[in-house]
Every structure is written in C-alpha cells, then in structure tokens.
C-alpha cells in the first residue's frame, strides 16, 4: 500500500502489526508453532520435483563453484527438506510460517509474502479437518466472505495415469482443464488413437463440479477404477466432516499448481480478490521424494491479500 502521509502510513502499519499478532496468537492457541524458513533451494532438486513451474520463472543464484540455487518459489518444499532429516517415527507436528516466495517475471523479481499452516505426521484426515477448520474459523472471525474449491490430486493423477498418454498430451489436457476449455479438451482427446474408459471421464471432467452429492450423481453412470473410487471416497469423507456445505465447492477438474499434491487439493476465494486468497493440499508424495513417508497437509495464504482484506474490513 502507498501512502503520501507518514501519519496515515504509521496508523496502517500499527493496524497491520496488530492483526499479525492476533493471527499468530489465534494459530498458536490451536497448537501450531511458528518456524523459520530458508530463502534458498537447490535448483536441480526443485526442478525435478516441480515440473510444471517454468524454469524461467525461478530466480537463480550461482555460487563461485558454479552451483545453482534458487530463491524459494514455494515454501512447502523448503519445510519438508528441513523436517525430513530430523524426522522420528510417530512424530506429529503442527507448524506455521510467515515467509516470502520469489518468482522471476519479465524484468522483475516478484516477491510474495505467504502465511502457511502445515500438519505433518497425523493419521487419517485429522490434518485436513484440523487445518481447514482453523482456516474457516479464522475467516469467520474476520468476516471474510469465502468459497473453497475442493478437488482431489489423487483422483486427477490416477485418472491421467490411466490414460497412458505421453507427457506433452497430459500437459495439454491439464492446461485445457485449468482454463475450463471444453472445446480444447475434446480436440486433444479426439486426436489420440487409443482411448479407454478413463478418456471418457476426462472428456467430461469439466462437468463434475458442484456439491459433493451433485458430483457423485453425475459420476454414477461411469465405471471407476478402484484407485479413483478410493480417492473419491476420501474426498467425500473429508467434506462430510467439514460441515460447511454452502461454502464448499467440489471441482474434480481442479489441477493443483504443484505436482506433488496427492490427496485433497483446494483453492480459497474471496469476492474482492481475483486470485485465490489461499491454496493447499495433501503432499505425502513430496515427503516420499525426500526419503520419508510422512502424512502431510497444509495451506498457504496470500498474506498481503489477507492483510489488506482484514485491515479494509475493519
């Protein structure tokens, strides 16, 4: 925010700091602990884990030995790196952070402040329920009107895997789904010589949105593999436990930005903002890539947007 008057600016800063203090206390009271986050990530490793983030959008730093690092474009990867090596069996931790991510845009380095909440090592859907309930009560506390779009990384990943098509085609499909571009989607599928039951589901994937009941009704006439059925059941279980039907929106075509999400994925919207206020999902697959199978779920807020939303609501 820009101010021409120092008194106004100090008033705003005071209000903002007050909110951050309240927020941290709110989260701490629910058992989360604040952690520090590194600024850097090894480039090679990050690229390997996140194939859909454009390489040119990463801010690179080269040390005198020629090793390339990047300024974190994402905090979750960073946290996992720190946690995995010290992990002990049966551990269960709740943590939160307030940190910056960096992206290279044309001629600029874009920094984004993120506030995230993560739960690691919890069995079942405890983490989903716990984190989302915390987020929902936070939004209520500050009178923020919201909608949460929920999808399943497991569902979409299994489905696309069942197609057994090349990577380029799969990426084209993901882009068409992301733009809800039905025509482009049909065109890509029509061009494929080998089709199966899964391609029929993919072709209709954009229709599978609405309440959980709506989606299940629409899916009833399709034959689902056991993997798809399991991922759908788990989505249904979580939604039942969340108990906020009017604010929750199921969309099976939701493609998470990061490939490592392997369970519930979500995007939180608020009317005044054209981009999601918060994003998140289950990412056990990421911890496995770092060598430990840890149940992990988290969400992160666009913190500048959240601060603006709260300070302008007051």
């Amino acid at each position: 925010m820009d101010f021409t008057n120092i008194i106004e600016e100090m008033r705003y800063i005071k209000k903002r700091n007050q909110f951050i203090k309240e927020l941290e206390l709110f989260i701490e009271l629910r058992g989360f602990t604040k952690v520090d986050v590194d600024f850097f990530e090894p480039y090679d490793k990050f690229v390997e884990q996140n194939k859909r983030i454009k390489r040119e959008s990463m801010v690179k730093i080269i040390d005198p030995k020629g090793r390339i690092s990047i300024l974190s474009p994402d905090i979750t990867t960073n946290i996992i790196e720190q946690v995995v090596y010290k992990w002990v069996d049966d551990a269960a931790v709740k943590l939160f952070y307030d940190a910056y991510t960096f992206r290279q845009t044309e001629g600029n380095i874009e920094e984004k402040r993120q506030f995230g909440i993560e739960q690691l090592g919890y069995q079942g859907y405890t983490a989903e329920i716990d984190v989302l309930s915390t987020v929902i009560s936070l939004l209520k506390e500050y009178n923020i009107d919201y909608k949460i779009r929920l999808g399943s990384g497991a569902f979409i990943n299994s489905l696309l895997k069942e197609l057994d098509w090349d990577k380029d085609t799969i990426n084209q499909i993901k882009n068409a789904l992301q733009a809800k571009n039905e025509q482009a989607l049909s065109k890509i599928i029509d061009q494929q010589p080998l089709k199966n039951g899964s391609s029929l589901i993919v072709r209709n994937l954009l229709k599978f949105e609405g309440t959980m009941e709506d989606v299940l009704t629409k899916l009833a006439s399709y034959t689902l593999s056991s993997d798809l059925q399991v991922s759908l059941n788990s989505l249904e279980d979580i939604i039942k436990k969340l108990n906020n039907p009017s604010r929750l929106w199921v969309d099976l075509s939701l493609i998470p930005e990061f490939d490592y999400y392997n369970g519930l994925v979500l995007e939180g919207y608020t009317k005044s903002l054209s981009t999601p206020l918060f994003l998140g999902g289950r990412y056990d697959k990421l911890t496995a890539q770092y060598g430990k199978n840890i149940n992990a779920f988290g969400i992160s807020f666009d913190f500048q947007a959240l601060i603006k939303e709260v300070t302008s609501n007051e």
């Binding site: 809800k180 482009a184 009317k271």
Partner: protein
C-alpha cells in the same frame, strides 16, 4: 430477481455480432445499443454490459470487474490472462496467418526472418514450434505496409476476407490457426456466481445448435 451479472463486450464490428448472438440466445431482452454509453444495464435480465476495446476485455474479466466477457481467441492467446475459456461462440471467425509476397520463403533455415505483427507472442510461439529464428517487430495497425516498405519479410495478422492483403499484392503463405469469439469468465466470480453463469452458458449453447 436474477443475481446481478456484468458482461464485457467488445466495441466495434465484433461487438455488433456479439449483441446479435446474445439476442438470439435470449440473454439480451431490451438494450439500447445505439447510445454511446460505455455501461448499459438490461434491467429485465439484471445484466450490466460494459463496452470495451477488445484488447482490454480479458483484463476486466481477469480482475473480476466483469464476471463474463466475449473476446477473440487471438487476443486471449496473445495476452495469456488467467480466465476460464468457457465456450467458443462461432462468431467473428477468421484465421491468423503468415502473409507476405507470394514468393517469400518462410523457412530460410538458419537465416533470421523478420516478422511484423500486432501479435508478438503468437508469432514467437509459432515460429519457435517450426524452429525458424525470427526477429519480431511489434506494430499496432496497418501491418500490411511492413513488407511493402521493406520493414519486414512477412507479417502475422488476422485475416477475415483477405481483401486488404490482395489490395496490397500480398497473400496468405501459411495459416497459423483459426480463431473465433470466445466466452470467458473470471475465476473468482465463477465460484460465487456459478448457478447464474451456468444458466447463461446453457442458453448460449442452445443458441449454437
């Protein structure tokens, strides 16, 4: 009363075709489109129409100022905005083509081809896909003049009838893609006004049959 909705429509020729289409789809009931107002409300349907330069439409929709918009696919591809592309509308159909003098060689292999266009991104993407190095010159209009005056070897431009090309002794050398007017939606507003947007979408689909 229907939930209020805001739709961004293009000014100019495509705009008129769009309005005719929306009337056919029974989305516009009464609208005085002859006035020079940039914002007109259709009280009966509770829809506000904004009349905007085609290149600005996706921005209004991306930022959520308009819930929906109608814009050429060429503009969408050029701008790469974060919006949903819900439906191609079958109007404003034309091609984006590489044009130049009839004998121009399009793939002089290692030599750089000079291309003038108001679509620098589409141009770069296309020539990259055929491995032809190019230098792009961004122009805002009268692109056909560029090869005539030796500013570029070829142009990449939208071609509807081809009469401007012909009048200037130029011809289509290769079609890059076909484009048409497309219905786009704001990602945020889609979540909040889903029912209403889907209702309009199905009316449009019906009008296309």
């Amino acid at each position: 009363m229907n939930e209020p909705l805001t739709i961004a429509l293009p000014t100019g020729r495509l705009g008129q075709q769009t309005i005719t289409f929306l009337q056919k789809a029974k989305i516009i009931s009464s609208l005085d489109t002859n006035s020079r107002k940039l914002k007109i409300v259709d009280q009966e349907q509770n829809i506000t129409y904004l009349f905007i330069k085609p290149t600005d439409i996706a921005t209004y929709v991306e930022k959520g100022v308009a819930d929906l918009g109608i814009v050429g696919k060429d503009t969408l591809l050029e701008q790469n905005k974060q919006v949903y592309e819900l439906l191609p509308l079958g109007i404003g159909q034309c091609i984006i083509a590489i044009a130049g003098f009839k004998n121009t060689i399009l793939k002089p292999s290692k030599e750089t081809l000079i291309v003038a266009s108001k679509y620098p991104n589409i141009t770069k993407t296309y020539f990259k896909s055929i491995n032809q190095p190019i230098q792009t010159i961004y122009l805002n209009g009268s692109v056909e003049l560029a090869p005539l005056m030796g500013l570029s070897d070829v142009i990449v431009d939208i071609v509807e009838t081809g009469s401007t090309l012909k009048a200037n002794n130029l011809a289509v050398l290769e079609t890059v893609m076909t484009v048409e007017a497309t219905l786009i939606a704001s990602k945020t507003n889609y979540q909040f006004k889903y029912e209403r947007i889907i209702q309009l979408l199905s009316k449009m689909k019906e009008a296309l049959l």
